[in-house]
């Protein structure tokens, strides 16, 4: 595959990936209360070998309102 096409494929894959992850981050709002997302960090023995994920804690924030026009 030519380098340029390979870059385009990578870009497309990244875009798709972002779109998929963005979609995955949006909870199902037809069932309330909204379920918290799965923990996406890493838990080790101590905080020094772990990665936090505050997403679940922040889930109660509403989705930004969309323009109505």
């Amino acid at each position: 595959m030519p380098l340029r096409a390979r870059h385009a494929a990578v870009a497309l894959a990244l875009a798709l990936g972002l779109a998929v992850s963005a979609k995955a981050a949006e909870p199902d709002r037809t069932i309330l209360p909204v379920s918290p997302p799965d923990f996406a960090g890493k838990i080790g023995e101590t905080y020094k070998d772990s990665t936090p994920d505050w997403n679940r804690r922040c889930r109660s924030r509403p989705r930004p309102a969309r323009p109505t026009s």
Binding site: P36, I43, T46, K48, W54, R56, R57, S60
Partner: protein, 724 residues
């Protein structure tokens, strides 16, 4: 259910303590008290476990809400899969009331806009009157009613405990006179006896001479009484003094004077609470509902060592690594416990308050997690003044209440599947003091320290902050016969120790305990943490609005900022506070008095700065502002320095140079941001609160720079009086 705060194992009279608690003692005489009851060793975690019946990290309360982390065990926000007992009872027809301390809302929810789903009304209670967070000024509390911050009542002699009990009685009377026939559940969480230790002077003076023999003698006398009343076995040994506590005999006369008075203040505070709880019990008698009312009295953790070696007259000082000296406290001796002080007693008295146990609040040794528990229910529990020795844990209370009320644990609440309860009902102990215990095991973890109890044995490892956990020394006790953890058997029984360590690991994995985390104030400096308000460069505030909690207000400490009040001065002038934040123990206030614009800055009551315009403010519409420019930062003590410019309509009318601004006041105790008034305690004693502004105030705009890079709140090491 009555929750006492920071009351240790041996501070009530019915547990051998030296403080007069006749009403709680009478309650114990009308029921049973538990000799081997345990909590998590910290406030929010115990309360979460108490109300949900699940282990604290299983419901995301590994530590206090303000110390939340980005891990499931530490989010500081109880999941909806763990409904509180209030929610369960409410949906089964009970009226539900909460009063007092509510340290179960995420720190990001301390705002006038909530979110309210973790405030009491969002957690199963129908009414609420109290305070959100860990502590509040008992003379001038930062209050909440239902879902609204309200100004502190202003009347001579006001004390929060009395106010809470008044409301507690009124809630029940309202409910009873409605004559619906419905039962009720009331959760009354007093501020007593958490700092600030605030008590009427008559209660403090009552204890003149009671503690003069010191904490070593007090421990011995308490243990003698505990043995005499059969609370502990006759062969119970007193362990050595806790680390950092000197022998009373080695103290200077000034130290003895200060430490004794601070213990008197604590005693007066608890005695005063007991008096008002007596009013509540009498009200139940008067309504003729006492016999069939199940009353539970519990504390949340061991007595608190947070007053460090000297104690303090201002807890915000040690939070800023600038603790007051004995000499400084000595100068305020007669004021201790009053509205102009924010005291805590020294750690030696906490040790005595946990007799005969080792260590204190925050620790997983028995001194941290063993607490008084009294249960009285005359219509059902026939025992009068008996003791129950079965090991029990705070998660056992909810199963006990469900069994007592004949209700099942719900599998689904509001459409959310519920996690199983993690405690064991204690109702089996009500009638049979010798019933074999039903508890098999319980793990402990608090701020890095670990422990596990199983079948009468306890393995425990105290953790020194910042040390590698692999270096923690594990101890082993046969606590069935050695409640005071006096004989470490780790070397003799390595097999037992290893088995318990393995069990701890299993339990830790089951209940979200990992990762181990010993960070304290560093957690609040984590830039990835969510914050209550969206970060903006300017915030608008309006008069007539409620107080803005310190954790939801713009974070001004050490940051360049401008506070601008847009106001109209009528002909003939105006006076009052345009904006204020904090109070007696630290804060700032922009106000007009005697016709002049003024800015007062109170640095932890150590230094008070004041600048005033030379000319009187003119009538008409104006911009009154104060600008702070940071110039430096100190870590020990923790403060910022900066310059202040006071302006009217953009023109400078006064300056202050090199003032000190606290590094982290107001995080827990401080009063919040107020527009057009200074309720609570005054930032400046040049006016009387609330000093409401008499002109026309349109709004106040606070412009604030982003946090300076490298702003890290750190703790200097190797100072024993600056321990976390």
């Amino acid at each position: 259910m009555i929750v006492l705060d920071d009351v240790g194992y041996s501070q009530l009279g019915s547990y051998g303590g030296p403080i007069d608690t006749p009403n709680l003692d009478k309650l114990a005489a009308q029921g049973v008290r538990y000799t081997d009851f345990h909590t998590t060793a910290l406030c929010s975690p115990t309360r979460a476990a108490l109300l949900t019946g699940r282990n604290h990290p299983a419901v995301s309360l590994a530590a206090i809400t303000e110390a939340a982390t980005g891990y499931p065990g530490g989010y500081g926000s109880i999941p909806k899969s763990a409904a509180t007992i209030a929610e369960v009872l409410k949906q089964n027809g009970y009226n539900t009331f909460a009063l007092g301390k509510w340290h179960l809302a995420p720190y990001t929810a301390y705002t006038a806009a909530g979110p309210f789903d973790h405030w009491p009304l969002g957690m199963g209670f129908e009414k609420y009157y109290g305070f959100i967070g860990g502590e509040t000024d008992q003379w001038a509390p930062l209050l909440v009613q239902d879902n609204t911050f309200i100004d502190a009542p202003r009347r001579d002699g006001y004390h929060l405990t009395e106010d809470l009990v008044d409301h507690a009685i009124a809630y029940i009377r309202d409910q009873q006179q409605a004559s619906t026939g419905r039962p009720f559940f009331q959760y009354l969480a007093l501020g007593t006896a958490h700092a600030p230790l605030h008590a009427p002077k008559s209660y403090v003076d009552k204890y003149n001479g009671r503690f003069d023999a010191g904490w070593d003698a007090a421990r011995e006398e308490t243990l003698r009484k505990q043995k005499a009343m059969g609370l502990v076995p006759a062969d119970t040994e007193l362990p050595p003094r806790n680390p950092g506590v000197p022998a009373w005999a080695d103290l200077t006369p000034d130290q003895k004077t200060v430490y004794t008075r601070l213990e008197q203040v604590f005693a007066g505070y608890l005695d005063h609470a007991d008096h008002h709880l007596g009013r509540l019990f009498a009200a139940l008698d008067d309504m003729k509902i006492r016999d069939n009312t199940l009353i539970i009295v519990v504390s949340d953790n061991g007595a608190s060592q947070e007053g460090l070696q000297n104690g303090t007259a201002n807890t915000d000082r040690y939070r800023n690594y600038n603790p007051d000296s004995v000499k400084e406290i000595l100068g305020q001796l007669d004021k201790l416990g009053g509205p102009q002080t924010d005291p805590h007693y020294p750690m030696g008295w906490a040790m005595a308050g946990n007799t005969p146990l080792k260590r204190w609040k925050q620790d997983t040794h028995h001194g941290g997690n063993t607490d008084p528990l009294i249960i009285s229910w005359p219509a059902r529990i026939k025992a009068q003044g008996e003791m129950r020795r079965q090991y029990s844990y705070v998660t056992d209370i909810v199963p006990t209440l469900l069994e007592a009320t004949g209700l099942p644990a719900p599998t689904s609440v509001n459409g959310v599947r519920q996690m199983p309860l993690q405690g064991v009902s204690m109702a089996y102990t009500f009638d049979d003091p010798n019933a074999p215990r039903r508890r098999k095991a319980q793990y402990y973890e608090m701020l890095g320290s670990r422990a596990i109890w199983s079948d009468g044995w306890t393995a425990v490892a105290w953790h020194k902050k910042d040390d590698d956990w692999s270096r923690d020394k594990w101890e082993l006790y046969h606590t069935d016969v050695d409640l005071s953890e006096a004989h470490d058997l780790a070397a003799e029984r390595p097999d037992k120790l290893h088995a318990l360590q393995a069990l701890w690991t299993d339990e830790a994995k089951t209940y979200n305990v990992l990762p181990l985390d010993d960070r304290r104030y560093e957690r609040t400096a984590d830039p990835t943490r969510p914050i209550a308000a969206i970060e903006k460069s300017a915030y608008d505030y309006y008069p007539g609005t409620s107080i803005v909690h310190p954790l939801a207000a713009p974070q001004l400490l050490g940051r360049e900022h401008t506070v601008t009040a847009y106001a109209t001065i009528p002909e003939g002038g105006a006076e009052g506070v345009l904006a204020s934040s904090g109070g007696e123990f630290g804060g700032w206030s922009l106000f007009i008095k005697d016709g002049r614009l003024r800015y007062a800055h109170n640095y932890l009551k150590i230094e008070e700065y004041d600048v005033a315009s030379a000319a009187k403010v003119p009538s008409g519409a104006h911009r009154f502002s104060v600008h702070f420019t940071p110039t430096g930062k100190s870590l020990k003590p923790d403060f910022f320095t900066g310059d202040v410019t006071l302006s009217i309509d953009g023109g400078s009318v006064g300056e202050l140079k090199d003032i000190k601004m606290a590094g982290q006041y107001s995080a827990v105790t401080g009063y919040g941001l107020l527009i057009g008034r200074n309720t609570g305690t005054p930032v400046s004693h040049d006016y009387e609160p609330p000093f409401v502004f008499t002109g026309a105030l349109d709004k106040v705009v606070i412009e604030v720079a982003k946090a300076p890079k490298g702003e890290v709140i750190g703790k200097p090491k190797n100072d024993p009086n600056l321990a976390d």
